[in-house]
C-alpha cells in the first residue's frame, strides 16, 4: 500500500516534470467558482488573469476553468492543470482549501495560491483582502445617507469574513449616526440573483433605505432601482451600470497587482509560501467612485477615512469597542489583532440578532 502510493506519486510528479520543461512559457492556471461573467467575485479574479496576460505577453500562458464545484471536482481540475504543466495555480474560493492542499502534496514543484483560506504548505500560499476596510468607508457613507435609520445587509454565509464586514460597516455607521439600526438577512449563497433580489425586497419592505450586500450579483441593485429611493453599493466589482444611483460607491477587489507580482516571482524563482492580507493601502481593496448622489461633505469625509485607512494611520477596528453581549473587546485606542479578525465569530455591541450557529 505504502509502496504503491509512493510509485503513484512519483509517476504523477514525473509526468509533470517532463511537460513543465517542454516549453519555457510560464503557465498559470486559475480555478474559478463562478462563471467569469458573474459581474462580481469571479469577474474580478478573471480581470486579474487578463492583467497577467497583458503584462507578460508571450512569456506567459494562462488557462482557467470556470464554475468548478468545491470538492472532488476542484481537486480533479487542479490535478489536470498541474499535469498539463502549470507552474502556478490560483484557486479562488474558500471551499478549494483542502483540495488545494491535497493536490499540492502530489505536485511539490507546482506553486499554489489559495484565496481566503488558512492552510499553508511549502508550495501553497494563502491570500485575501482586507475587505473590512472598504466596509468601513461604506458604513461611513451609509450611516449618513439613510433617512429611515434602517440599513439592510444581505449576508452570504455567517463566516468570519462576512461577520467582519458587518461589524466594520456597523461601527462606522454608528460613529456618524447613533440612531442607525442594521437588519441582516442571510441568503446562504454567494451568487443567486433570485434569492438576493428577494432578500433586498424584504429589507426594503422592512424600512431599509440603504442596502449593503455581501453577495456577488447585481440583483439587489436592480431591486433598489425598482424601489426608487434606496441606496446601494457595488460588491466585489464596481457595478457602475447602476451608478450614480442607486449605486453610490463600491468595494472593488483588485487582484491584478498581486497576480502579476506572484507570477513574476515564479518566473524569477523567488516565489515563497506566504500569507498575504492586503487592504486599501496595497491596492487590493479599491473604493469605487463615490457618485454625485452623495453630498460633497460626506464624500470628502469618506475619502479622508479611506486615506487614513490606506496610510495605516487608522485601523477599522479601533477601541473602545464592546462585543454584542456588552463584554469589553478593545480598550480605548487599542486595535484588533489579525488573529482575532481572521476568526471573528461575534457581533459588536449594538447589532441586533445572533450570528447563526
Amino acid at each position: 500500500m505504502k509502496l504503491t502510493k509512493l510509485l503513484a506519486t512519483a509517476a504523477v510528479a514525473l509526468g509533470l516534470a517532463s511537460t513543465a520543461m517542454a516549453d519555457d512559457k510560464t503557465k498559470v492556471g486559475f480555478v474559478f467558482v463562478g462563471p467569469v461573467g458573474d459581474g462580481g467575485w469571479t469577474y474580478e479574479h478573471n480581470k486579474g488573469r487578463l492583467a497577467v496576460e497583458e503584462k507578460f505577453g508571450d512569456k506567459v500562458e494562462t488557462v482557467f476553468v470556470e464554475s468548478v464545484p468545491e470538492g472532488p471536482d476542484a481537486e480533479r481540475v487542479m490535478t489536470q492543470m498541474a499535469l498539463d504543466g502549470a507552474d502556478l495555480i490560483f484557486t479562488t474560493s474558500f471551499g478549494y482549501m483542502d483540495p488545494t492542499i491535497n493536490v499540492a502534496k502530489k505536485f511539490p514543484k507546482v506553486k499554489f495560491e489559495h484565496a481566503t483560506g488558512y492552510k499553508q504548505a511549502p508550495n501553497v500560499s494563502v491570500y485575501s483582502a482586507r475587505f473590512y476596510e472598504g466596509r468601513a468607508v461604506q458604513g461611513h457613507i451609509a450611516g449618513q445617507m439613510t433617512k429611515s435609520n434602517v440599513i439592510g445587509y444581505i449576508g452570504s454565509y455567517p463566516i468570519p469574513e462576512v461577520i467582519r464586514g458587518i461589524n466594520s460597516a456597523f461601527v462606522h455607521a454608528r460613529a456618524v449616526n447613533p440612531d442607525v439600526q442594521f437588519k441582516i438577512i442571510w441568503a446562504y449563497t454567494w451568487f443567486d440573483p433570485a434569492k438576493e433580489a428577494d432578500a433586498a425586497k424584504v429589507l426594503i419592505e422592512q424600512g431599509a433605505d440603504v442596502i449593503l450586500q455581501h453577495t456577488d450579483s447585481t440583483a439587489p441593485q436592480a431591486a433598489a432601482q425598482a424601489a426608487g429611493n434606496v441606496v446601494t453599493f457595488g460588491q466585489a466589482s464596481d457595478m457602475s451600470e447602476y451608478a450614480p444611483f442607486p449605486r453610490v460607491s463600491s468595494i472593488i477587489d483588485d487582484w491584478a497587482p498581486y497576480y502579476i507580482a506572484r507570477t513574476q516571482a515564479v518566473m524569477d524563482g523567488s516565489w515563497e509560501s506566504a500569507n498575504t492580507w492586503h487592504g486599501i493601502g496595497d491596492g487590493m481593496v479599491g473604493i469605487g467612485e463615490i457618485s454625485d448622489a452623495v453630498p460633497a461633505e460626506i464624500k470628502a469625509s469618506a475619502l479622508q477615512l479611506k486615506a487614513k485607512l490606506a496610510s495605516g494611520e487608522y485601523h477599522a477596528f479601533t477601541g473602545p469597542l464592546n462585543k454584542q453581549d456588552g463584554s469589553a473587546w478593545l480598550a480605548d485606542g487599542e486595535t484588533a489583532d489579525d488573529g482575532t479578525l481572521a476568526g471573528m465569530g461575534f457581533y459588536v455591541e449594538g447589532l441586533e440578532g445572533d450570528v447563526p450557529q
Binding site: 482557467f64 476553468v65 480533479r76 489536470q80 498539463d84 474558500f94 455567517p158 476568526g343 465569530g345
Partner: protein
Amino acid sequence: MIVLEKRPQPSRAWSLMTPVVAVVITMIAGGLLFAALGKNPAEAIGTIFWEPLFGEYAFFYRPQLLVKGAPLVLIAIGLSLGFRAGIWNIGAEGQYIVGAICGAGAGLAFYPMESVFIFPLMVLAGALGGWCWAMIPALLKVKFGTNEILVSLMLVYVAEQLLASVSLGLLKNPQGFGFPGSRNLQSYESAFNAELIEGSGMHWGVVAAFIAVILSYVLLNKHILGFNIRLTGEAPRAARFGGVNPTRLILFCLGMSGMLAGLAGMFEASGPAGQISIDFNVGYGFTAIIVAFLGRLHPVGILLAGLLMALTYIGGEIAQSNLGLPAAAIQVFQGMLLFFLLALDLLTNFRIRFAAKGAA
C-alpha cells in the same frame, strides 16, 4: 407529407439504438456549437471523448471516471426502479445530502476514536438517512395522495438549508477558525472511505455502485417484486387486477431510491469530498435522472450512461482548460444529450411515414 404512426409494439431495436444515435447527433450538433464559438469542432469533441480515455494523462482520468460516475450510477439505479413503476422521485439530491450528513455525522460523533466498526456504522447511517428523507414523500403519498414529484423536489431545498445549518453549527470543525464545514474525514482513518487500491479510483462507493447494478438486474429479471414493478409501469390496471399492492410498491421504490442516494452521499462525503460543507452537493441527484433515462432504466444501460456522463464532465473540464471553451458551452452540450434522447424516443413508439398528400 410526413405522418407519425403509432407502433403496435414499442420497437426494441429503436429502444436500444436511440442512446447511441442521440450521442452521435449530440456530437454533430455540439460540433456545430463549438465551431460557432470559433473552436475546431473535431478537436473539441476529441478532447471531450478521447483525451480522458486514451490521452497522455489517461492514467489519472480513467480512475476519475469511476469516482465521478459511481454516485451517478448508484443514484440512477435507485431512481430507475421507481421510474419503471411510474413513481417519480425527483428529490434524490435531497436524499443524497441527508445521507451524507447522517453518514458523516455518525463518523464524527466518534472522533477521534479509531475502530473498524465506525465505517460500517457510517454506511448504515447514510443509508438510513436517505431512506428516511425519501419516506416523507412516500408516506404523504400513500396516506394523503400527495404528488411525490413535488414533495420530493421541495425537500431538496429543505435538505440544502439543513446542510448549511450543520456546516455552520452542529458539524462545524471546532479547529476551523470559525469557517464553515466539518472536519476532513480524509485525515480520520476510521471514517475515511479511501481508495481500495491506490490510484485506481475504486473506493467503497464504486464497489457499492457495481453491486447495486447487479442486484437491480437480478431483482428486475428474476424476482416477483421486479416483475410487479415492471407490470405496474407497463400495465397499471393489469397490475391491480393481478394483486399488486400499490402502497407497498410506492414505499419500496421511494425507500430504495432514497437509500441508494443516501449511500452515494455518504460515500462521497467520507471519500472524495472528505467533508460536509455548505456547497457539498453538486447536482448528482438531478444528473442521475438524466443517467437513468439515458440508460433506458436498465441496470447495465445505467452503468454505461453513468460512465458516459462522467466522461463528458471530465472531458468538458479538459476542453475548458486546454481549448478555452466556456463552461456554459459544455453544459449546453450535456443538455443536448438528454434533449436528443427524448426527441428520438418518439421513434420507439411511432414510425415515420411519408404519405401522399391528402391520404392522411
